[in-house]
Symmetry: C2
Subunit: 108 residues, 2 copies
DNA sequence: ACATTCCGTAACCCGAGGGTTACGGTAATC
DNA sequence: GATTACCGTAACCCTCGGGTTACGGAATGT
């Protein structure tokens, strides 16, 4: 999945995409699993996941016929940087702390 | 200005609104001043500012015929809470720090 | 080989939202 | 009182993004 130059805040501007991220925050999931928890079609979910991927918010791994998606920090950190740019010192302190506490990969 | 139940991430989903917030991050400004720095009309800016206000990201004060807008933390903190909800511990540590370092009101 | 499951993508539809101009109310100044 | 500056809002326009169904390729199991 290519990381296109899509702004993560553009991606976060849709409520269904935010709901998808909340699901993935709990555990990694396949497209089908995500779609079964939302009131939209599976192709719609697929489309949203593409947007989220291009924004650096998720990443996918093939598992047979399944594509399993999980969170990715890069897009989230870009959001933090925007907040720091706009809101200033408080956001800067926050960003440094977040980068020094990497999320462990055995999260699920 | 009423704080309606508008999600700040909805508000941040537009690039012109993000540009407005960046301008206000530098200093508080009137509608006209903001509009003169962006490639859109003054009524368009007015409309965006309304959205940002309802999302808790800005607040306005009357000053004669002018309405002067400045940043507000409430919406930004809601974004942080969403990030914490989704991305977890790192975001939680960040949020606690940000709340303990209030922005001083004599910012400009 | 065939059937089933999974999923990306094309094609189509349509409504939301972001653009505009015009209007009129408020405030300030002369 | 007249003029000017400021700004919210109405009305209109139209793009674009998010919804859908349909299709076909890949992977797996029988």
């Amino acid at each position: 999945m290519a990381d296109a130059n899509r702004d993560p805040l553009d991606a976060l501007g849709d409520p269904n995409r935010r709901a998808i991220l909340r699901l993935l925050g709990a555990s990694k999931r396949s497209v089908q699993e995500i779609a079964s928890e939302l009131p939209i079609s599976r192709p719609a979910v697929s489309r949203h996941l593409r947007v989220l991927g291009e924004a650096g918010l998720v990443v996918d791994h093939r598992n047979g016929t399944r594509r399993v998606y999980e969170l990715r920090d890069e897009g989230m950190l870009a959001v933090q940087r925007y907040l720091e740019q706009v809101w200033g010192d408080a956001a800067a302190r926050f960003r440094l702390l977040a980068e020094n506490t990497e999320r462990t990969p055995d999260r699920d």
